[in-house]
């Protein structure tokens, strides 16, 4: 496809400029910190950290855990959980390969909920459930649905009120726990990448150089000032409500995962 055709094919999936109501063209670096580049600072990082980040950017792990069909499905799902249509092709952040790699290596976060199967099995069950729902609701494979239908199906899982079709699976695996597993893995892979750090204005590795401007959100000399722009979520998506969307968690809020204090 020529760049223009690709642009037009995906315009339903592109964020909108509210001033013109036209799609925003994909760019190398979305976000409010134009010109900010953590990778440009890597000479100031210690060698061990530099190597870990280099590998993450340049050595994409091979697919080993998921079967071909599962891979196709999960890759599309990852594009809904962490959509990147606003990024040009050279600046997308691989997510699926790192989930595959984690499960292949058998790495866990150090616990499993008593009503959950092991992570790999949970993924397989969840993918089956999504396939079954898609067949029941639309008579089609998930990957053949239009983008908005896919987004809506996933939203029903987010809401812990999944569309009918996979009741048996959800009786073996709580739907909100599956959602938590999937979203946590996706955000971990996305926000571990230096392109994502540049997008959100996070300073990245900081040893041995240090920070010296701690107060009032001031940037370091090598960081940049924020330059905001308005954008509306793409027409084909339902994942950007104006208000917090936690109805599904009111009864049993999931506990926080990372360490804080």
């Amino acid at each position: 496809m020529l760049p223009n055709e690709r642009f037009n094919a995906n315009r339903e999936r592109l964020p909108i400029d509210p001033r013109t109501d036209l799609p925003l063209k994909p760019r190398a670096q979305p976000g409010y910190y134009p010109g900010f580049s953590t990778l440009s600072q890597q000479s100031f990082w210690d060698a061990t950290t530099r190597e870990v980040v280099r590998k993450r950017v340049h050595e994409i792990p091979p697919f080993r855990f998921f079967k071909a069909e599962e891979s196709r499905l999960l890759q599309i799902i990852c594009e809904h959980i962490m959509p990147q249509d606003d990024r040009d092709a050279e600046h997308r952040i691989p997510i699926f390969p790192f989930i595959d790699e984690r499960l292949h290596a058998g790495r866990t976060p150090g616990y499993r909920f008593e009503n959950m199967p092991p992570d790999g099995e949970a993924y397989r069950l969840g993918l089956q459930a999504i396939a079954q729902i898609s067949q029941k609701a639309h008579g089609k494979n998930f990957i053949e649905l239009d983008w908005r239908k896919q987004d809506e199906l996933l939203k029903s899982i987010h809401d812990a009120e999944p569309l009918p079709g996979a009741e048996e699976i959800w009786s073996r695996m709580p739907v909100e726990r599956f959602w938590g597993l999937l979203v946590q893995d996706c955000v971990e892979m996305y926000y571990a990448h230096p392109f994502a750090w540049d997008e959100i204005g996070f300073g990245g590795p900081a040893y041995p150089r240090a920070y010296m401007r701690l107060e009032r959100g001031e940037p370091e000399p090598w960081e940049v000032e924020e330059k905001r722009y308005e954008w509306k979520a793409p027409p084909a998506c339902v994942s950007d409500p104006a208000e917090p969307d936690i109805a599904a968690h009111k009864e049993h809020p999931p506990a926080g995962q990372g360490g804080t204090h």
């Binding site: 976060p109 987010h158 971990e188 590795p205 900081a206 040893y207 701690l214 926080g256």
Partner: protein
Amino acid sequence: MKTPIGGEFEEAHDHEHHLGAMQRLDAPMRRFADDDEVDYLVVGVGAAGGVLLQRLARAGFRVVGLEAGPFWDTEKDWVSDEKGSHQLYWEDMRITGGENPLTFGANNSGKGVGGGSVHWAAFTPRFHPSDFEVYTRDGVGVDWPISYWDLKPYYELLELEMPVAGPAWYPWGDPHGYAYGPHPMGGVGDALIRGCTKLGIGVSAGGPVAILSGSRNDRPHCIYRGFCIQGCKVGAKASTLITHVPDAVRNGAEVRPRSMASRIQLGKENRVTGVSYFDREGREHFQKAKAVIVCGYAIETPRLLMNSACDEYPDGLANSSGTLGRYLMAQAGTVVLGRFDELVRMYKAPPAHALTEEFYETDPKRDFARGFAIQTVGPLPIAFAKQMMVARGSWGWGMRRVMMDYNHWCAFGVLGEILPWPDNRVTLSDERDQFGIRIPHIHFSLHENDKKLIKFAQGKTEEVMHAAGAKETLNEARFAHLVGAARMGKDPATSVVDLFGRTHDIANLFICDGSILPTQGSANPGLTIQALAARTADYLISQGATVFNSDKRDLTPPPVRPHLSPPGTHGKGVPRFG
């Protein structure tokens, strides 16, 4: 691409063992043979195990520390990166359940020399005098078999050994001051001070945290890079890896890394004889010892004792009371997130740098017993994204949008006292780990008082966040720290160890870590765990060989031995009030 003057920073090519940017492990380590009967075998070289090894080695005992994880070289093994730091956390499988299942790994469990003290945020408030007598005062929980005043001398020692930076006047609990100056404020601390001040709530700025505000000996001061819970490569944040273990090794202790204890052996005459463990290749060994001290923290300690069940102790070693594994506690750690119009950039400065204990004590005007603290936290992007998933239901473009505002958000953590309940407990699952050892199952549910406390604390914290200027607040329910599950007490029928950490059942088996805490207050437990370890060490030194050859149980408090502190720490530059 810019480079530093002199070129980009290079890999450490030397063969030295780095403990922070400047310190090196500068002595060859002693190696005992498995059949060499050592005096004390310490299982778990973390917050407590590190202090015990150091004290006992200095006093001349032959000691070995078994550690399941690696003996870190901070320069070669650690990174300034969130995702790259998983190796610091205990990520072996645990099954978690109950109405409010706890999460483990990065949340509260360390692996490798230094244990959890490697990835703690390093808040080091003392417990208050009231914490030791909550049953007497409020009719809840249980009293400790010791008082604050028994522990106070050890708080003072450890605050210098770590050392702790903080204000010269700290007003809560037993008022005291800190030798090392408070840290400068980051964006989160600014907001906490602003919010508290507006509401007339007292607040402590710049500590108490076990992070150097000025260089000391071969440890540099903090560089404010914000990666405390990913391991401090700088060597400014205290962990026993850099504060106590080097001195232990220098004095003849052996630290045996990648050694996973599987079973404590009970011999004749109701005495333990040593510990079976798996080495890095998975080979099983047995280390003989005259006495064993288990320092595995609140999950691994009961797990090891339960996995050591035998004919004499069918429900787990030292568990004749049936309390082993019970009264497990985590602290309420609800994170309140606030969005500000102006930038905060909360990734700068240590996550831990300001707090208030104004709500710590029981207040008869509230409808629950005990209280809470409000502390700064500083989630990095991955942790923050996971919080937004929970707190805002974010995913897809909503996640992208809220994350683009990362620098506008600020986070406070509630630290609330959850009371000890018998049904919150560790048991063994039927599943096994990579060594074939049964893995733990943890059951955790909140009770009425806990729920009321959390609701109130969350509301108060939101109020402070709004007063600081936040336009929107969200909250993430979560828990912090793990203590209990092998509690100390006077009565052998309702506790596992006595006031010095000796198991009631077996005279040469001790427990020394967070699991022996009967209650937990609203203070981060790290300082108290290390202070208890120093006290147990003084006790063992006073008992001398009695521990090795008799079942005599002497409960006389030992003298405080400040000369056993690592060199150059005791008595330096601390202001004293009262």
